[in-house]
Amino acid sequence: MPLIALDYWDLALAALLLLVNAGLSIWLQLGLARDTLIAAARMAVQLSLMGLVLKMLFGMVSPWLTGLFALAMILFAGREAMARQERRLAGWWGYGVGTTAMLAAAAIVTVFALTTQVRPDPWYDPRYAIPLLGMILGNTMTGVALGLHTLTATAAREKAAIEARLALGHPRNDALRHVVAAALRTALMPIVNSMAATGLVALPGMMTGQILSGVDPVEAVKYQILIMFLIAGGTGFGALTAVLAAAARITDGRHRLRLDRLAPKKAR
């Protein structure tokens, strides 16, 4: 089945839906028209640029450029994960813990998939590496951000309980155990829920995309199952690394709770 290519008139027609939305917003005085149109324009420009960059990248198949592009994606993800936390670690730790965890988790899982299951030739072919990394990274970022957010917010809220245990002589790992468990549960909830609902409630975007571009649904489903496993692995590994590193950072070698190592609460 051939790919039905879209021309720009097709996109313009679809954009009419947005204009209808904007018109409704003005009519109902929702104040959303401006934001909607700006967001839509940003999306179109950002994706078009991304398309051009990817086309260039795919044309060159350079391990260095691919690696550089992947690194930039991870650094942006680190900033986004940091921005989503209410009480983040002070100083470079606030950026470093989440970013390092994502770098390790996403890189390991992506390279694992490229070298053992998908196996393009060469293995770093950006046509496979970048989309795989993007999907794994997007979900890992959510898990890491949720995990760190829950860990620091819960530790601050449960200060009395944690310090009561420390004061009784419990080691810091025991004293923080219920906080770490809560953080990891929260981090993994979205991917667990999404695996449970996939196929019944939601048809994932990647699978749908493959089907639209002419791939046999059974093959597309196999790809989607692989991706879900990779995402779950990356999210679990990334969240675990980030939460344990942050838990070590908000305590010290003398088993004290060090909330002074959190940045002041963000003004909202």
């Binding site: 449960e158 009395a160 944690i162 009561a164 245990r165 009784l168 003398r254 004290r256």
Partner: protein
């Protein structure tokens, strides 16, 4: 009370931001009351001895340097009970290694035997405070650091708590406790560590 061999606790050169503490020693069976206005550093001082906040100094228990033992080991022997008690599990008994061993003490402080099965959320502030004290007492530490242990308790329970503390002293433990009640300071302790508003403290007689 000059050599480390005799002193139960010796504190030399304690440095912790916000407070200025003179060197002192505590003998086995001795209680020291920590008094002074709110916010003068009484809690900071007790937390520092328990090593819950960064601080420096030559702190020894029966001659053993604090720095030479792990923090959990230190805190099993030098146990701090905060003014605001903390709870991490659903039921009272989950917070005790052996609730049955704690029952007699809890009973003396006016809590019934079945209190072990109560959920934390139904406890009053006073019940939590008493149970937190019991939780530390059953571990039988050499030194208790109590932050206003009886504030908010009725007279009867306060008397029971003071009796229990006096028993601990009689078997050779030592107690540092903060209080706003000068009469209580005098009942349990001969010496007071008196804080001024600026966090400077000096040892005085309680009477």
């Amino acid at each position: 009370m000059t050599s480390d061999g005799e002193a139960l606790l010796s504190v030399r050169g304690l440095v912790r931001a916000g407070i200025d503490i003179p060197d002192f020693e505590l003998a086995p069976g001795e209680a020291l009351a920590v008094v002074g206005p709110s916010g003068s550093g009484k809690s900071l001082f007790l937390r520092a001895l328990a090593d819950l906040d960064p601080n420096e100094g030559d702190i020894r228990l029966r001659g053993d340097a604090r720095g030479a033992m792990s923090a959990p080991d230190w805190r099993r022997r030098v146990t701090f009970v905060a003014g605001e008690s903390g709870w991490w599990a659903e039921r009272v008994r989950d917070h005790f290694e052996d609730w049955e061993a704690a029952e007699p003490l809890a009973k003396r402080l006016g809590l019934p035997e079945e209190a072990g099965g109560w959920t934390i959320s139904r406890l009053s502030t006073g019940e939590r405070q008493r149970l937190a004290l019991v939780r530390a007492l059953v571990q039988e530490p050499d030194l208790l650091l109590l932050d206003e242990p009886t504030s908010g308790l009725d007279t009867e329970t306060e008397t029971a708590a003071e009796e229990i503390l006096a028993e601990r002293l009689s078997v050779g433990a030592a107690i540092l406790f903060s209080t706003h009640d000068e009469a209580q300071a005098g009942r349990l302790a001969n010496r007071c560590l008196r804080f001024a508003k600026d966090g400077a403290a000096e040892i005085t007689s309680c009477r």
